[in-house]
Structures are given as C-alpha cells and as structure tokens.
Subunit: 205 residues, 3 copies
Amino acid sequence: MLLYIYLIAISAEAMSGALAAGRRNMDIFGVCVIAFITALGGGTIRDILLGNFPVTWTQHPEYIYLTVSAGLLTVILSRFMHHLHRVFLLLDAMGLVAFTIIGCSVALRLDYPTVVVLMAGMITGICGGVLRDILCQRLPVVFRHELYASVSLLVGVLYLQLERLGVHADINLAVSFGAGILLRVCAIYWRLSLPTFSYSPQQWK
Amino acid sequence: MLLYIYLIAISAEAMSGALAAGRRNMDIFGVCVIAFITALGGGTIRDILLGNFPVTWTQHPEYIYLTVSAGLLTVILSRFMHHLHRVFLLLDAMGLVAFTIIGCSVALRLDYPTVVVLMAGMITGICGGVLRDILCQRLPVVFRHELYASVSLLVGVLYLQLERLGVHADINLAVSFGAGILLRVCAIYWRLSLPTFSYSPQQWK
Amino acid sequence: MLLYIYLIAISAEAMSGALAAGRRNMDIFGVCVIAFITALGGGTIRDILLGNFPVTWTQHPEYIYLTVSAGLLTVILSRFMHHLHRVFLLLDAMGLVAFTIIGCSVALRLDYPTVVVLMAGMITGICGGVLRDILCQRLPVVFRHELYASVSLLVGVLYLQLERLGVHADINLAVSFGAGILLRVCAIYWRLSLPTFSYSPQQWK
C-alpha cells in the first residue's frame, strides 16, 4: 500500500521538478536530472546522513526509470499542466506525507534517537524540493510557504506516537497518512502559514 | 573546555544563520533549519567526506535542540542584534577556531594524511557558512571576505605542528585557540584580506 | 594511460573553476576552493552516493596539490587564457570523457546495476561543474548547453557495451575515449544541442 503511494509520490515530485526546469528553459537532459533529483534527492540525503548504504535508488533502478519517464511525460503534457493544478497539489501532499512516514521508519529501523527520526522524516519529505530550488536558482519555497515542513513534522510526531502506543502498523499508516493529507489540504485552503521573520539591519556583515 | 567553547560556537553560528534567514523573510521553520544547518552543516559534511558514521549530531540530540533554540532566540531578540555586532564577531571567531581544531582532531584520529586533516579542519570551520549562503542565495562570503578560511588553515597548521612536537594536548589547545582568535581579530580590525582575482573575458564559454 | 589523462583532466577542470571564481571576484583562497571542488567534486559525490569510502582524494593528497596549483597558475596566466580557448575546450572534453569512464568503472567494480553504473559515469563527469556553478551563483551550464551530459551518457553506454562484448580493456578504453572526444568536438563545432523545455505558466506555485 505505502509502496503504491510512494510510486505516485515520486512521480508527482518528478513532475514538479520538470516544471521548475522548464521555467528555466533547461534542455531535455536537464529536465530529467531535475526530475530525478526532486523525486529521489530527499531520500538520498537521508540515506547518506544516516549512513544507510547502499542508497535506496541504487538498488531499485525502476525508480530511476519512473522519475525520468515522469519528467519526460511532463514535457509532452506541459500545455495541460496548469489545468491539473489541483490534482498536482493533492499528489504533492501525498508525496510529502508518504516521504515523511518512510523517512521516519528508515531511521527508526536504524535505532536513531527520536528527534533524529523526526528529522529523517522531514529531510525525506522536503529536501528533494530544496535541491530542485537550489539547482533552479530559486529561494527554497519550503522555507517561506504555507505549512509544509510543519505538516511533515506533525505527521512524524503522530506516526511515532501511535507506533509507541502499540497501534497496529497498517492502522498507524492509514491514520498518519490521512491526518497529514487533511492538514496539508487545510493549510493550502485557508493559506495557513507560520509567522515570518524579517531582519534588515542597516549594515551588518 | 573545548566542549563548552563548541557549545558557544554552534549557538553563535546558529544565530548568524537565523539572521541570514531573516534577511530573506523566511518563516520560523526556515529560520530553525538555516540555524541548524549553519551550526552543524560543516561538521556533517566533514563526517560524510571522511566516512565517519554515524554523523556527530545524530548521536547528540542536545546539539539539535541547542541550535534550534538559538535560532528562535535570535528571532525574539532580533531588534537588539545590531548592538551585539562586536560580541557576535568574537563568538563567530571562537566558532571558527573551535570548529577547525575539532575538525582536525577528528581526521587525525581516523589516520588521514596531513593535508586531508587540514582540510577537515577548514571544512568544519567554513562549510556551515557556505551552506547558509547557498540556501539564502548569497555568494558565499568566505570566498571574498577578510582572512577567514586562511585563519582556519593557519590554526590547523599550528595545531598539527604542536601536536607533532609532543606538546601536551591542553597546552596545544590553549595556544592554537588563542592564536586563532588573535589572528581573526587582527584580520577584522585591520581589514586584512587576500588579493582578489578578477576575470572578465569578453566572451568565454 | 588513463591516469595521465585523468591528471590532465582534473587540471583542466580546476582551471575552469578558477576562471569562474575570477568572474565573481573571489579571493585567492576562494579560487583554490572552487578549483578543487570543480576538479574533484564530481568524483566525491560519486564516492559518497556509492558508499565508496574512503573518498578517492583523501587517499591521494597529490590530487589536492595538483588542483590547487592549477587554480593558482590560472590566476597568474589569466591574461592569456582567452587565447587558449580552444585548447581548453579540448582539455575539458578529455576531462568529461575520462571522468565518465573512471566513474563507470568504479561503480562496475562495486557491482551496481547497469543504470547506476551509467549514472556514476555521468555524476563523475558533470557534477564538478554543477557544484562550481552553484557556488558561483550561475544556473548550471550542463543543463542548458550543447551536448555535454549526453556525451557522458553515450560514452558510458559504449564503454559498458564493449566491456560486455569482452573487448580487451585497453582497446575498450581507447575506443570509448576517442569516440567521446569526437562526439563532444562535433557537438561544439556544429552547436548540436538537445531540444529545450520552456514552461511559463501564468501563475503556478
């Protein structure tokens, strides 16, 4: 079940990467690279930080093909993309939540402390997008947007808490996943966001 | 002793990260992320490059809490920050020197060649700031400023040399640390800097 | 033989890094850092992704000295650099092809799946340049230029295919290397490039 959601999630992320590359007029190869990195970059950073070798996608070539195909498909279908705006936001929310849960469970399995488990979830959830934005020369959106990383954090907390209470893994998955999607959709709908910190000194380093 | 300096150092670095995030109007979450990465990013890159797993902070959740708290505190105290300009520069110098010595000693312990030990010191000292600048879309300051990375290099050389001469570890620490702070303060005071390389071809690649 | 080409290649890449740093008015230290990262960054990312520790250059301090020297030499000779434009393009092509073959053979030795082997070749070939462009705040050129990454991919495919057909290693090397250089030179000469994907929605995230 989580696997299917994961496959949908990496495809959706790959597509968002391809669109970002298109906004920078990259060539087809650049589109594939950005699609791949957006989809699998978060998990890669998590694996490297946790010393979890071999990195996941190196053992699953099918993920590579899937993300590159999703990127190319985006190029072909790009003229219809803005009609799919809402579908996309939903797929992206699914991706965020699925990535978070997967990231947490990888770190849990490796016996890391709780706060590191939560960070592994967030890293898996948001780092792909951060890499995409750096490579496309944009200020990372996750640091400025409506609740996004916070959703990832809350999903992680919920998932760990239910795990600790001994809730059956499938039920935990369903509840955490559902709650995460709901939270993200609410955040988008009501434009919920964290307070912003603006600092503009006259002249400081 | 070095531990206390280290804790002060990561707090100071976290604060500099939070201020950089504020200059980009990031939200509270972004501020925490940038604070964390600025403080612990250099050591993380060092650990990964040296294959020194698990990465330090994953075994010390207290460092995570400390850097995030320092970031949040900065937001609260931001209006007083420019009064603390000089305090900050001093804390930052302490951070640079402490990070460098710690980085060198980690690589020494793992039996890397001398030049790699020196690089481990510099990487620990300056990479947090480089990551901060990339994430905040600034040209990394360490590549353009007064002596900064060079201070890190000189501290590493001094530390290694004293180590080799069989100087007692505590004395070595005190001497290297003091010399580093002094050098950095002089560099700031007299605006010492390395020559700059400017290259502006008519049309090259 | 491949070693000599490799040494020429990292020197050429270091020089291209130094020139990029010069275009951003970095100081001498920044020039050395960018030179080093441009030359050895691709191999470093490959080693980390493949879990191939210790990272190559940490065991070969001479590569560090070579790249830093090449960077400094570039500063001294910068006024003559634009006369050497064509020599540079050729050296850069040699670098790309040599890096690709080396990257593929490292991943082959570690028994990774075919597509990962090809990616290891490309990562080694192009990531140094990507890191250079990120650190110098440029949109990575490899994602927009004439056939560059694609040359890397084709060289990898050819190399693996000949390897599989049981061609002698030296002959394989010579053929793959020659074909790669030829392809890259043709791409530059006739300005061959992949189609570009441009996406500019009215207002989409």
